[in-house]
């Protein structure tokens, strides 16, 4: 039932991205949410959420088994703070069974805690504007 997934984030932004994608694609909020600091702010579900509210909404969202693919475009990193600009492609399945594709750019802020490990502090995905 439970998969073995190493959630350790190294200094390498591509490795960080790979871990996020793998954790996201498990569909299990309990796994994915471990990548976030308790007070982290996530906009993944369309509005800024933190704490228990974030965990709950992320878990509900991932239960619908959305599929994520993403690529790091740019990284700026100091010793303990990192800004990632990521291109993402998301496939979500609605209650009607229809698949919807969402492409966009995500801004991620990761910080290194006192334990030396990187963890997500803020994420902010923005879908591309569809050309009308």
């Amino acid at each position: 039932m439970s998969e073995t997934l190493d959630l350790t984030l190294t200094d390498d932004p591509d490795q960080q991205n790979d871990v996020f994608v793998a954790a996201f694609n498990t569909g299990q909020g309990a796994i994915f949410d471990q990548l976030y600091r308790e007070d982290a702010i996530s906009n993944l579900t369309g509005t800024p959420r933190t704490g228990a509210d974030r965990t709950k909404s992320i878990t509900e969202f991932l239960a619908s088994k959305p599929k994520l693919n993403s690529k790091v475009l740019r990284t700026f990193s100091t010793g303990d703070t990192s800004l990632l600009i990521v291109e993402f492609h998301l496939e979500v399945t609605g209650e009607d069974g229809k698949t919807q594709k969402i492409d966009g750019t995500c801004t991620d802020v990761l910080v290194r805690g006192e334990d030396g490990k990187w963890i997500m502090a803020v994420d902010r995905p923005v879908a591309d504007e569809t050309s009308a």
């Binding site: 702010i41 740019r74 100091t78 703070t81 800004l83 801004t107 910080v111 502090a121 803020v122 902010r124």
Partner: protein, 131 residues
Amino acid sequence: MAETNDALTAAVLEHAATYVRTFNSGDAAAVDRLYTDDAISVWEKGHPASGEERRKGLAEFLAAKPKLTNKVLESYVTSDTALLVTDWAIDIPATADSAAESISGIGLDVLRLGADGQWRFAIDNPYGKEL
């Protein structure tokens, strides 16, 4: 919890306002104090600068007496880390050698709260997701 976050957000927005005032005063040393020691600035697309290069670039830029206006579009503030989305513009006055110039962008800036209780810019990325 909500109050705490409101207070933190107010402190971060105050820092952003202080930055604009200090920048427009032209005092490079004072502006530099609004950054962390190891901050990264990306004033030139694709060219992050830190340390002495960042300080020198800032001082040279301020010598041209640029005027900054800034509007914070979005703010995400945790206990010690903040992301700001900013809509900014800078007017650089004409000199004997060069015409007046205006630059602008949508910035993605990261701030950290120091042990002394002061917020500072850690990553100053004025062109945001433009790469």
